[in-house]
């Protein structure tokens, strides 16, 4: 599943140089294909997402603003952003560290561990939530009760976002030449200095990309957090759970307003990711 990530974090496809048809005009076959694919994308993605934004603004900007700034909604959005930031920061540190260990260290069971990193992608999110509750839930066998706490929400999000930074940093580390590091070491640089001045600058684009993805995921996650958060307004209720509750109680305007804010933040993050990638490509 690492490849899935690698391709997802790649810049959008440019026209390949060997493209056989240099004609300016779009060929009829192409036009038909694009038409059908666009129709499907519109029915599935574009019109429904447009409907969310439309519903949020249907009763005017004032109503939209009131729905977003309603105390419960605002608190859920703020908590979500804060929690996503914390999760992303932890992922920067531990994701890079795990990638480092998986590439540079040798120990028994490394291959197993490497495969294990992808498990959060394959595991249904609701199962992830339940798995964490079994250990850190009420009457926890190890005495750590995280259910219905913000720490529990962070834990659940760390679980589902684990692979992002690891899988973006790992391939870069693998391809990194050790020449520069050896040169630095021979000139008397300590291990930490070598890492900070030689290795880290090469990893920054990958770390940024992985972090942006884990931030976007943490903002939007629902299945893993719904059980462990306990859904307490003003305390553990994240934006996706709030949206879900509003849909259940037929307040689609309130749901659509918060959903629009979530969409906007996610789009900004993806846009940022695109900028990072272009910058990295230009930098070589």
């Amino acid at each position: 599943m690492a490849e899935a990530l690698a391709v997802l974090t790649r810049p959008a496809d440019p026209d390949p140089p060997g493209l056989p048809f240099r004609a300016r005009r779009v060929r009829p076959g192409t036009a038909l294909g694009v038409g059908v694919a666009t129709l499907w994308l519109s029915l599935l993605v574009l019109i429904p997402l447009g409907a969310v934004i439309w519903r949020a603004n249907e009763k005017g900007t004032g109503a939209f603003w009131r729905a977003v700034t309603a105390p419960e909604a605002a608190s859920a959005v703020k908590l979500t952003v804060a929690v996503a930031l914390v999760v992303s920061l932890i992922n920067v540190v531990f994701g890079t560290l795990i990638a480092w260990v998986l590439v540079r260290d040798q120990f028994v069971g490394k291959r197993f561990l490497d495969a294990l990193i992808d498990l959060p992608f394959a595991l249904p999110t609701i199962v992830a939530g339940l798995v964490l509750l079994a250990l850190y839930g009420v009457s926890s066998p190890v005495g750590i009760e995280l259910a219905y706490t913000r720490a529990g929400v962070v834990m659940a999000l760390l679980f589902v976002t684990l692979p992002f930074v690891v899988r973006t940093v790992q391939p870069v580390l693998l391809e990194l030449d050790s020449d520069a590091e050896e040169a630095a070491a021979s000139l008397g640089a300590g291990k930490f200095t070598t890492f900070r001045r030689i290795v880290l600058p090469n990893l920054v684009p990958a770390i940024a990309a992985g972090t942006a993805l884990s931030f976007a995921r943490a903002m939007s996650e629902f299945g893993a957090t719904v059980l462990i958060s306990g859904n307490l307004p003003f305390k553990t209720q994240v934006a996706s759970v709030y949206t879900f509750n509003q849909i259940q109680s037929d307040n689609t305007l309130g749901a659509a307003a918060v959903a629009t804010v979530l969409l906007a933040i996610s789009l900004l993050v993806l846009l940022g990711l695109d900028v990072i990638q272009r910058w990295a490509v230009r930098r070589g």
């Binding site: 294909g33 560290l97 609701i126 679980f159």
Partner: protein, 262 residues
């Protein structure tokens, strides 16, 4: 020294987050033997839910495979205006919360919307029925096949297929005999990823399915519902089954990976 410290920290992190919780749930599920687990899994509700999950996943995989092959070919081998936008639209679902996906589909296909009402009037119910669940699942797993195929298609180029055309092969024949064999591993990989994502979908399906027991309830919905109803045995049994499916998929993917790279 430093190396060992890093290793211990990494291992401890993974143990606390992944290994110990996962091990515990397996242990708890089977602590009274396999009998009760089997019993929980073979209730009519559970069996039906697994069937619904299977049906929904089947359609999502089918739709995304057809769309994925077509869209990847368009992106790699053709030029047309708005290509960047088209490409961005395919990636968009990654960033959208499953709950928002569900809401979006309800707003368009629910019976209180003009389009959904019209469909309903013609006897085609989307929301609170299988079609809506298939749409939701297809939405969340949309980019997986395309993004596996596009780089492989770029790499193999089109020269061989062109050679086949000059030798008199039709377009479809050339595609089937030249390109399809070359992309089959990437395609298989994309399909397996889509399957995993589809079987595991929860949020979007929770919104659009209406969660009618014995009708639109999927396996992941059973996990949630039985946990909320303090039926821990069923929640654990279904979870462990889903986790085992995920692990099998992971093993398959790991076995396929070298083939994809070659």
């Amino acid at each position: 020294m430093a190396r060992r410290t890093l290793r211990v920290v990494a291992l401890a992190y993974l143990a606390v987050l992944l290994l110990v919780p996962l091990g515990l749930i397996f242990w708890r599920t089977f602590q009274h033997g396999a009998g009760p687990v089997w019993h929980s899994l073979t209730t009519p509700t559970a069996l039906h839910a697994f069937r619904v999950s299977g049906i929904v996943a089947f359609w999502a995989v089918l739709l995304n495979t057809v769309f994925g092959v077509g869209a990847a070919l368009l992106l790699v081998r053709h030029r047309f205006p708005g290509k960047r936008l088209f490409s961005a639209l395919i990636d968009l679902p990654i960033a959208v919360s499953p709950v928002v996906v569900g809401l979006a589909l309800i707003l368009v296909y629910g019976k209180f919307s003009p389009f959904g009402g019209w469909l309903q009037g013609h006897g085609f119910q989307v929301i609170f029925a299988l079609p809506g669940m298939v749409l939701a699942t297809t939405f969340v797993s949309l980019p997986l096949v395309v993004r596996e195929l596009a780089p492989v298609l770029t790499e193999i180029g089109i020269e061989q297929e062109q050679a086949a055309w000059t030798l008199g092969a039709g377009r479809f024949q050339a595609f089937r005999r030249i390109t399809l064999p070359a992309i089959r591993w990437a395609l298989g990989y994309g399909v397996v990823l889509t399957l995993a994502r589809s079987l595991g979908e929860f949020g979007a399906v929770a919104v659009v399915s209406g969660r009618l027991v014995g009708q639109t309830q999927t396996a992941t919905l059973v996990v949630d519902e039985s946990f909320q109803n303090f039926d821990q045995a069923t929640a654990y049994a279904v979870s462990v089954t889903l986790a085992l499916i995920a692990i099998v998929i992971l093993v398959v993917v790991n076995l396929m990976r070298p083939e994809v790279k070659a």
